[in-house]
Amino acid sequence: MRTQSGYGPLLTGPDLTSAGTVIQLAYRKVIDVHSTAIWERDLFADTYSEFCMQAQFYDQSGELATFDELVKAFPRAEKLHGLVSTVAIGYLRKLGQTIPDLVNLAGKPWIPFEQFGFEIIGSHRQKRGEHRVAITFYSKEMLWLASYHDRLLVAPVDQLGLFLAGEKIQPDSVTMNASVFIHTLQNIAYDRDETTIPDLLS
């Protein structure tokens, strides 16, 4: 995505009545035979095994070798996305509800997530190397404060009150790339003359 100062972020709103923006980021991570991290390789192996097991629901013979062939012949085989996803859950839980790979300036992953999506990009019951899956991590809601270069400056949603009150808060940053996108975007209109914090934060 293109990042532009002046669109959305809190810091660039009008002086008196501004619009804060709450965002959910999404990060789509592809795991395939070339993945190198241990947990990624384990997830690759386990999801491939589970795919081969569960595919037998739809075709015991194995003649329909690829995921695409299975889905074409048995539209219900679309459920293999969800069925195979459960093998990944144990690994995703071990991430400590922190999205991997997206690091702050200190090089540390920090973005919390609870929601994820799992997708079989492609697979082949006889060719392990053709197994590819994607996990999309959906961040918890965050305040989008500003953008600079390829980074978004963000802060926890519960910091908005302090921020509006003129207190110092410590933002963090996310580097955008082709695999990171804004999943949801919500404006929080507020008036600095009002003393109440938007309902979202109550």
């Binding site: 386990d46 997530f113 999506g117």
Partner: protein, 243 residues
């Protein structure tokens, strides 16, 4: 052996089933939560001469989703209902109906309201990491060919008789059998009409006889169940595969 032949030979099972079929709603109302209800199910697999491969049934639209590192015995998660302890015995028709050890057994069923665990969806559908599944489990058979699960008595949904899905694999993950476990109407009706603090939909609207899956004969898919609402139920069932 074809089912009809089996029915003829399994005289005791047939009599038991006929008795169950004869039970009506009126027989069952007014039960109490401490009342013990028992129902003998299939005797198939009890000996080498009574060892028909359990009927294969469609996996249905909701096959299990269970990672190897989430093999769990208590599959209730956050679901409430009358507790039910399930013991399944897997036997091998290719080995004189001896117990089959190291078989992988998946089970899944709906909750008290008739809902299955959500799917995790396809593609972009997001699900919550902390609460993604319930009432689905995987266990590996022991030297007695048995697996055990702690769960709840299933609810029901329109158009299907009460059931539990089972998928059995060998230790290598090769599919051996997809089947379903049928429930005796007597016990179902007692629970649905008495444990109304959980089960609020009344009696199931589809009997085994009218069910599209079981209506071609379900005698060797019928579970044995005993217990009470207060103390919970015990389900035992033997499934015969060719391994």
């Amino acid at each position: 052996m074809k089912r009809i032949e089996f029915l003829k030979r399994a005289g005791l099972g047939l009599i038991t089933t006929s008795a169950l079929i004869a039970c009506t709603k009126e027989d069952l109302t007014g039960g109490t939560s401490s009342e013990t209800t028992n129902s003998e199910g299939s005797t198939n697999g009890s000996s080498a001469s009574n060892c028909d491969v359990t009927n294969s049934e469609t996996a249905g639209p909701f096959p299990t989703k269970n990672p190897s590192d989430l093999q769990i015995q208590d599959i209730r998660s956050d679901r409430t209902g009358v507790q039910m302890d399930v013991t399944l015995t897997i036997k091998n028709a290719n080995n004189s109906c001896a117990a089959l050890s190291d078989a992988i057994v998946d089970i899944w069923h709906c909750d008290k309201d008739g809902y299955y665990s959500e799917y995790g969806g396809s593609g972009m559908q997001s699900v919550n990491l902390t609460n993604v599944h319930f009432l689905r489990g995987r266990q590996v058979t022991d030297s007695e060919g048995q697996v055990r699960f702690t769960t709840i008595f299933p609810g029901w949904y329109s158009g299907r008789a009460v059931h539990i899905h089972v998928h059995i694999y060998n230790s290598s993950g090769k599919s051996l059998l997809v089947t379903q476990i049928a429930f005796p109407k007597t016990v179902c009706d007692h629970i649905y009409s008495t444990a109304t603090q959980y089960y609020t939909k009344g009696l199931a609207d589809t009997t085994n006889e009218r069910d599209n899956i079981f209506n071609d004969g379900y005698e060797n898919e019928l579970a044995s169940i005993s217990g009470s609402i207060d103390d919970g139920y015990v389900l035992t069932h033997t499934i015969v595969v060719k391994a």
